[in-house]
Symmetry: C2
Subunit: 460 residues, 2 copies
């Protein structure tokens, strides 16, 4: 078996051919949302199957009710090495508005950017460029003697339209897909020089509240002052949920929320995020969360309570002197650590009921609940991945979080019992889902090298 | 000039003919909202013109952009008597749903009710029956020697569709309409045995608040916890506007709000309103206003702050993890006594601004402001009217309020500088605007007698 240096040298030597391969994948208009591109999605799946088969993977295109999956397996040279399931997606977002593109979104090209060359095309970063970094790492291993880990690849073609076929596919093909660890690549670096491993995904609990007072809408002149107004009740609930320091007042809400280990807290502080600039991008200036917490904590490691929608009474133009019979609001809680979504929702319902006048009724509609997903900071696999990335980039990778959920990670955890290691080489300015999407050539090249180092490190 | 007793006897003797006259007015389908009945509205106006002319009024039908007005004048026998402007409307609500009527809504008939006979027809109570009580009182005076006051009658044909032509008509015909006192008849008795004079109409100030945070809707995962949520700000404003006792916390809000005179407060207490039943009719049980206040105070003599509508974020089915860029609510304040609508709105805007984070914006949209209208309890004209009603009904009339506004009263005050005396003989169960509208025969007969007594009393 070759040394890691030989593998890395192979990646470097393959660079031009790798780019050509990526370009031919980028040329395929695999827009999953638009039925007009159904054949293109099939074509992209076939392209991957052919590519992986040529590398010696046992690869196949698997039909689903929607666009097909590509599943491929290859064994390591050695036995008793970890088995990795790598996930990516070959489908892309629609390219419109086309007139905002500086060139054909499906005619990939290299463009000189301010800090090096970049690959411009729909899907360059999301996710074809990212997934090919892993494939190229596998290629280099295979061409120099063999893979260091058992590898299963799973590429889906419906990620951009909500992965409707994926959960059932995982459940049905569990024996074919289960591995020691899942790896995902559609995340970003901290910045262009600093890699990041996403170790925390916040959970989410959603509950709609509908409050009913009178049996019908009332005239605010005839009843105003005497009849209860459900909008006022909602207002009080919303206000009471937060104290003056921004802390959520729901009893037991912070059970299972732990402070960051000192090492991580220190790392986040050292990142020196420009909070004004982060919020300034969307026209804001003041962090709105818990007093004394940094913005990174607010969006990565602290739980939230938000109202995502509210409606009641007359909402058209002008005015109407109505006391509405009912009003409703959609509440959501982003969860972290070991917070129990069911306990949070139960506490929330009690909180609402405690503020409900005896002559009003409340209906709760559940819109889902999933816990946070955290890769333990002390995990040995994580330590190995950190060292590997540090060696490639010369900088300690950020152990970051994601404030939003990545459903596939929850699916892997629930369906296949696997933790996920999320490493990606995208940048925040890659314009995914927008015109002129790009992927840095440096990301593509060092991404493949990074995966080679990570796979090598994981194999022990 | 005849004695009051002779006039009352005349009313009694005219009773059968009076009912015939009312029925012929009720047969006219003067539905103002439906253009198909334009000629019927014209016909009702002409009917009134003819009727009043035959009594010796100088009566005329006056065209407007909509349905015509009827204006009629008659002088008293004596000079130096008060000049009264009596207002009513000859138009009626549409009669549908027709299948819920027990008989043709425009074929008036007498029906035996639980407590006496009733006139059943569309417009029986609202407002043809009520306005004819006044006309019949005038007839009895004229037939027995002459009116005790100068009388101007103003009957409009667009009350049921918002009186669009009225304000301009008042302004244009001010010299022809101005009098010492306006009288209105489309109010109710306290109950079937107790007359009521409505002396207080609450004012109304309306202001919409639109709060904007981020420049665009945000993903609640990526920004949740760090970015401000305009719905939360609205929630806090709504909650802060009221303390735990239901008192409105707006600075200066209660300036101009006076306690009821002891006599009135005692009268209201003695009425023994069944608060549970009042609220029970609309499915409620608990008065929602200021602690320690009766329901009558809450709806008649105390000011309110209500949210008539609220909207923000995602309000469709299911859930969407969005932090909305903006949220808005329509606030209204019912005003009493000498509360200044402009001062209330100014205080409200300051209250909102004080709760607005520095990086958010607020837009206010004004939807109107009008002060409360109160007939001074100490007014001599009011005292005379009270005595007159007491003599007819054998019970002290309730000096009541109306929680809603009656726009015409404000128009009389603003355009013509006149206070209004509101006396009507409708009952809460008259089903105005609904199928099987009725007017108690007792209301019709004693209503005319009441007006005779009031006119006589006002003339001194």
């Amino acid at each position: 078996m070759a040394t890691l240096d030989e593998v890395l040298a192979r990646i470097d030597a393959n660079q031009e051919a790798a780019l050509k391969r990526l370009f031919s994948l980028l040329e395929i208009r695999s827009i999953s949302a638009d039925p007009a591109y159904k054949d293109d999605c099939e074509k992209a799946a076939r392209w991957l199957e052919t590519e992986l088969s040529s590398l010696g993977f046992s690869a196949s295109v698997r039909e689903t009710a929607g666009h097909p999956m590509v599943v491929a397996h290859a064994k390591a040279q050695r036995r008793d090495v970890p088995h990795i399931l790598f996930y990516g997606h070959y489908d892309v977002q629609p390219a419109d508005p086309l007139d905002l593109w500086e060139s054909d979104p499906f005619a990939p090209r290299l463009v000189q950017g301010e800090q090096g060359q970049r690959i411009v095309a729909r899907g360059a970063a999301d996710d074809k460029g990212q997934l090919m970094t892993f494939v190229e790492a596998c290629r280099a291993f295979i061409e120099t003697g063999g893979l260091p880990c058992d590898v299963t690849l799973l590429f889906e073609g419906e990620e951009e339209c909500g992965s409707p076929s994926l959960p059932a596919f995982l459940a049905q093909h569990k024996p074919d897909l289960v591995a020691d660890l899942a790896m995902l690549c559609d995340t970003n670096m901290w910045d262009r020089d600093t890699p990041m491993i996403t170790t925390m995904l916040r959970g989410l609990a959603l509950e709609e509240v509908i409050i009913t007072g009178a049996t019908r809408d009332l005239h605010s002149g005839l009843f105003g002052g005497a009849a209860v107004n459900p909008i006022h009740i909602l207002g009080k609930i919303i206000a009471d949920l937060r104290d003056d320091t921004g802390r959520i007042t729901l009893p037991g809400f912070y059970d299972g929320v732990e402070e960051l280990p000192d090492e991580i807290a220190q790392q986040w502080r050292a990142l020196g995020l420009d909070e004004r600039s982060f919020l300034g991008d969307v026209g804001l200036a003041l962090p709105a969360g818990e007093a004394g917490r940094s913005v990174l904590e607010m969006i990565w490691s602290r739980p939230t309570c938000d109202v995502n929608g509210i409606i009641g009474g007359y909402t058209g133009a002008g005015s109407k002197t109505v006391l509405p019979s009912r009003a409703s609001a959609k509440f959501s809680f982003r969860l972290v650590g070991a917070q129990d979504p069911e306990a949070v929702l139960e506490s929330f319902r009690s909180f609402v009921r405690a503020r409900l006048p005896a002559d009003c009724a409340v209906e709760f509609i559940r819109h889902g609940a999933s816990p946070a997903l955290t890769l333990p900071f002390a995990s040995e696999l994580l330590s190995r991945a950190r060292r590997a990335l540090q060696q490639e980039w010369g900088k300690e990778p950020v152990l970051g979080g994601s404030g939003g959920s990545i459903p596939i990670v929850g699916d892997f955890k629930r369906s296949l019992g696997m933790d996920a290691l999320m490493i990606g080489f995208g940048l925040d300015d890659d314009k995914i889902h927008s015109p002129n999407e790009k992927y840095e050539l440096k990301s593509f090249k060092k991404g493949a090298r990074s995966w080679a180092r990570v796979l090598s490190a994981l194999s022990g």
